[in-house]
């Protein structure tokens, strides 16, 4: 094994239900991608410790020739200790050989789950819950050439 490179790509989400395009290129010393982790980076005023489907994403490799992953991203509270939040996020296994293109494309879609625990609107005078911008960080685990 010639070594492993872990590449991070962060996207920003500013609106509920926003679709954020993902479009970047692997560096030249990457030969294959064997795993992926996606985390929501943000703190929201919700009561529950975990929101299992906070957003969803889809990724294509090699200029859309390989489409190995459509998946969800959970949001996990770091403050509410429970069995559900004690573990470390595992790696979603992939086995994508990186060829000449090196392009990764796709999208992240916010599912508007920040307001799950907000009280229901009872009048027009009541302020709507404010959407808090957040980031989603993708970590690609890759073999070096």
């Amino acid at each position: 094994m010639k070594g492993i490179r872990r590449l991070n790509k962060t996207i920003e989400v500013f609106r509920p239900l926003q679709v954020v395009p993902i479009d970047f290129r692997f560096p030249g010393d990457v030969s294959a991608c064997f795993g992926l982790q996606a985390t929501v980076v943000g703190r929201f005023p919700v009561d529950r410790p975990v929101i299992p489907a906070f957003g969803e994403y889809s990724l294509e490799f090699e200029g859309k020739k390989i489409h190995p992953v459509n998946f969800i991203v959970p949001w996990v509270s770091q403050e509410a200790f429970s069995d559900a939040t004690q573990h470390r996020l595992g790696i979603l296994p992939l086995a994508v050989q990186v060829g000449t293109s090196r392009m990764i494309t796709g999208f992240y879609h916010d599912l508007d789950r920040q307001r799950l625990d907000a009280p229901p609107r009872t009048s027009d005078l009541q302020e709507d819950t404010i959407f808090q911008p957040y980031s989603v960080r993708f970590t690609f685990h890759c073999y070096r050439v």
Binding site: M1, I4, N8, Q78, L89, T139
Partner: protein, 126 residues
Amino acid sequence: MKDHKFQLIRIGVGASGASVRYTGETDKSYRRIRGIFVALPEPILEYGATLSLKVGGVDVFDDDHDVRLLTCGQGVAPNQKFFLFEEYIEASGNAFEGRYRDAGIQGATYPYEAKVFLWLVNEQES
């Protein structure tokens, strides 16, 4: 025979949003870095904190590597807390460097100390 060592790196974080560079050398009595674990004093500090690491001049974690991928809660057994490296990372007194970046979360207490543990072993490359 010395087979395992858990080497501690202390990173002092003085203020919200601080970016702190750290350097050092692995214990030369051990051949390989087997894993890493990051411990922060408050769980809310884990929101958005990042850690980069370079060993012997080779990138192990890029900038922007989320600390949450390198840590876990108190309920996890000590031997399962570590993120294990699949690749062979030479210890043997190799120099390491990196940068810890605090995310500036409201409600956190400053200053604090981030603790990075390196799991060093004496096993051979397989």
